[in-house]
């Protein structure tokens, strides 16, 4: 049984989503999670079409709204492994508020963001991570807004697992995404990938020349040092760090929630309603 589904995706030839899909299927195959117990929740966009090209349970919902759905799936059935996946526009733009509060909730799930720094499906508008000055189909004189730094934001909010990886390094991808799924809590993985059609700045070569793994560069790098991790998350230029930037052990929603910490699976709970006893308070 493989998570890979043999169909032709509706992506542009050469899209970064192709290697991402292959690497993701390989990663999931290596984890020994039964397909029936994994749920992928996505929003809308080219990235969000991913579950149609894999074999798994999925909820392909609304633009920007994957995280609330994913949260609730996990909350009512903690036995499921939940992965939320979408693009940078979906997660950081339309769904930005849910990203912030999803981190606060810290339920055990993994968030994969296809970050190509542009809107693809709507044809080339600037996204929250598009760099200043870049000319797009809707910012014709160049983007003037400060780009959102997803890693710095996630670290500030104390997400317990914050990482970056690259579709050009499938082994790095597998290592990082496996660790993210294994980590208990809200794991954030920002995935750098080119958009061959609409982003002529952040190309495959652009990322390839700049990305380096923090551990490879410095074996002493400690992702548990929050201040150091925050500093690392601010690096963006000739060199761009990837790997596990920040990591922390902290109790997740499931361990703190007064009902769920009892081991209750709400979706399966069928406690009877004893009418007479419940209504006695209203006499």
């Amino acid at each position: 049984m493989t998570f890979f589904r043999e169909v032709d995706p509706a992506w542009c030839p050469g899209c970064g989503n192709f290697p991402l899909r292959k690497a993701l299927a390989d990663t999931l195959d290596s984890l020994e999670i039964p397909r029936e117990l994994l749920v992928m929740v996505t929003g809308i966009g080219q990235a969000a079409k991913m579950p149609h090209y894999l074999e798994l349970n999925f909820f392909n919902g609304l633009h920007g709204r994957s995280l609330p759905v994913a949260f609730a799936v996990k909350a009512v059935n903690p036995e499921l492994t939940v992965v939320a996946e979408s693009g940078d526009g979906d997660m950081y733009g339309e769904g930005g508020n849910h990203f912030i509060h999803g981190i606060r909730r810290n339920i055990d799930m993994t968030v994969l963001i296809h970050d190509n720094q542009i809107y693809g499906l709507t044809k080339g508008q600037g996204s929250p991570t598009t760099q200043r000055g870049q000319i797009t189909s809707s910012q014709l004189q160049g983007v003037i807004n400060e780009p959102l730094n997803p890693l710095a934001l996630a670290i500030t909010m104390d997400a317990p697992f914050v990482a970056r990886t690259f579709i050009g390094d499938s082994e790095h991808f597998r290592k990082i995404v496996s660790a993210a799924i294994a980590h208990r809590g809200f794991s954030v993985v920002d995935i750098m990938q080119p958009c061959v059609t609409f982003n002529k700045v952040n190309t495959f070569k652009y990322y390839k020349d700049r990305l380096y793994d923090v551990k490879d560069a410095d074996p002493g790098y400690d992702p548990r040092d929050k201040v150091r991790a925050f500093e690392k998350s601010l690096e963006w230029g000739d060199k761009i760090p990837m790997g596990v930037i920040y990591e922390k052990d902290k109790p997740s929603y499931l361990e703190l929630h007064p009902v769920l910490k009892k081991g209750i699976v709400p979706s399966k709970d069928r406690t009877a309603f004893e009418t007479d006893r419940e209504l006695e308070a209203f006499r």
Binding site: R35, A72, S267, E278
Partner: protein
């Protein structure tokens, strides 16, 4: 109908709500039938707070406009209530505090003053003046002192000294003899329950096995959320306060996809934010129940007042075309029962269901018969999937087999148009078949509707109502000849056959809105002309108001 209306008024923060609750519950437990309502400003302290209690021998479900007795803790709130005085209304106030004079009002008032504050101070707790007045009223109405004593003990549990002082204050209050002539009520043991619409709806949701609630707080829908939160541990419910209403509805749909009955609570403004989610629930054919507790709009409107203004919006909510079920309970008992049915219908037809409450229903406690819990409403219509399972299979009755993830087959759902398996498609033949499938649910749903309540349909004028207007409409029609009514608690879809035989009548919708929203809906479905009168000042409907409105229309 023999009745008596007591009002307690003061500023928010003066303990009016607590005193009113104790008074109402004591009267109920002594055998009276009690109906309450609250009128307050959207603020935490200060501002006017009026708690009205109507007592009778048989249950009533609306407030009488004028009251018989006003106990007022503040001069300014008394002044604002003068318009609800009749010639025998008695005003009771503290003799040591400054209060209104005839110069203020220009009319003669029947006034009784007692040194409530001084008595409370003598009892050892100056803040117990409410309890002194409570004792005086309960003594007048012949309520056994043991009943309020128990409530005082519960209210001050763990604070022995304050409790004793309040018990003394209560006893002193009982010694006050208010020289007021009452109608003679025959009251005794009864088998009723006392609850408000908030409690009815929340208990109904718990009884239906709701295990997930997500909401962003918004008056007057918040009460359902906080009631469920207070009962969450006992009933294994996850109650999540969402970052916004968009998150709330998406969470509830996610929880439902994963197999839990789920609920969202809000008011009109919050429901407006949920529109794409309502449409999503329909597209992924995932059941969800939404409480919209109505308040006057547009926009922020009047947060603590009542209205029936969201009907047209709710009926047409969500972009695109799909089937939904909209209910509006008449009473707290009905709120319990129709909420249970709401979850059942949502599951059976895999559609969004909206429960329209109102501020007045939510905040008014009423004397009701025992709500009926129906085990058959617990049926989930969830299948164990086998080989070749297709979540959106086109079936003869247009209901696809709903499985939940975690079983033997994969469950795939998509907000895009999708094929039977759940995968995105642009095949336009499939598109048409899927629309047909989703819309075909309507015929089954129409068969689920209960009969509306009907009264005196031989009358020349038949009033039409929905939701919590029933109490006022029923009271009005029973108080005079020539008026009947047909009243709905399931407001959408509308079964045109409910109106057969009424074509020759003068039909008049009585609604808590300006435009006659239900009248328009009925007209659109049946082609019958329905006139309307509407109350949109933020106050609940009453039999008295209906009479005035009909007089103004020249119908009476």
């Amino acid at each position: 109908m023999k009745d008596y209306v007591i009002a307690i008024s003061g500023e928010a923060g003066q303990g009016i709500n607590t005193t009113g609750d104790m008074l109402a519950l004591s009267l109920f437990r002594n055998g009276y039938c009690v109906f309450t309502d609250k009128s307050y400003h959207s603020r935490i302290r200060g501002g006017e707070y009026v708690y009205r209690i109507r007592i009778s021998e048989e249950p009533l479900f609306s407030m009488r406009q004028e009251f018989d007795l006003l106990v007022s803790l503040s001069k300014s709130t008394t002044l604002s209530q003068i318009e609800y005085f009749h010639e025998d209304t008695v005003l009771v106030f503290d003799s040591d505090s400054e209060h209104i004079t005839e110069e203020d009002t220009g009319v003669r008032l029947k006034k009784l003053d007692f040194p409530f504050k001084r008595i409370a101070r003598e009892a050892g707790e100056v803040r117990a003046q409410n309890i002194v007045s409570l004792g005086a009223i309960l003594s007048l109405l012949g309520v056994k002192i043991e009943i309020p004593q128990r409530l005082v003990r519960e209210a001050f549990e763990g604070k022995e000294e304050i409790m004793q002082a309040n018990l003394r204050a209560l006893g002193k209050g009982y010694e006050i003899s208010l020289s007021i002539v009452l109608p003679s009520f025959k009251v005794g043991e009864h088998d009723y329950y006392f609850m408000n619409g908030t409690e009815g709806a929340a208990l109904g949701a718990i009884a239906a096995g709701c295990k997930f609630l997500s909401a962003y707080p918004m008056t007057p829908g918040t009460g359902v959320m906080t009631f469920m939160a207070a009962n969450a541990l006992k009933h294994n419910i996850v109650v999540e306060q969402a970052e916004d209403e968009i998150a709330a509805i998406n969470m509830a749909i996610g929880a439902s996809y994963a197999g839990a009955r789920s609920l969202v609570t809000t008011s009109g403004g919050g429901f407006a934010l949920m529109q794409e989610g309502v449409s999503l629930a329909a597209m992924v054919e995932t059941p969800v129940v939404i409480v919209d507790a109505q308040r006057p709009a547009p926009a922020t409107g009047l947060p603590t007042r009542t209205a029936q203004e969201d009907l047209a919006f709710v009926v047409h909510s969500g972009h695109g075309e799909f089937v939904k079920y909209v209910v509006a309970p008449r009473t707290p008992k009905d709120a319990f029962e129709i909420t249970e049915k709401a979850f059942y219908i949502a599951d059976k037809y895999q559609i969004p269901v909206i429960i329209l409450l109102t501020e007045s229903l939510n905040d008014s406690s009423a004397t009701v018969e025992k709500p009926v819990h129906r085990e058959e409403y617990l049926e989930r219509f969830i299948v164990e999937p086998g080989e070749g399972y297709k979540r959106f299979k086109i079936t003869r009755d247009s209901i696809s087999p709903r499985a939940i993830p975690g079983g033997k087959a994969l469950v795939k759902v998509d907000s895009d148009e999708h094929d039977e398996e759940g995968h995105i498609t642009e095949d336009l033949k499939i598109r048409k078949a899927m629309v047909d499938k989703r819309m075909n649910k309507l015929s089954g749903l129409l068969g689920e509707l209960s009969e509306p309540l009907r009264y005196n349909l031989s009358a020349p004028v038949v009033l039409i109502g929905w939701g919590d207007s029933w109490g006022a409409i029923d009271e009005f029609c029973r108080s005079r000849d020539g008026f009947g009514y047909i009243h709905f608690n399931e407001v959408f879809p509308i079964d045109a056959s409910a109106f057969s035989g009424l074509e020759e009548k003068r039909l008049l919708a009585v609604e808590g809105n300006y435009t006659g929203q239900f009248a328009s809906l009925i007209g659109a479905v049946t082609g019958i002309k329905v006139e309307h009168v509407g109350k949109y000042d933020g106050r609940p409907l009453s039999a008295f108001w209906i009479e005035e409105a009909l007089r103004e229309e020249g119908i009476i």
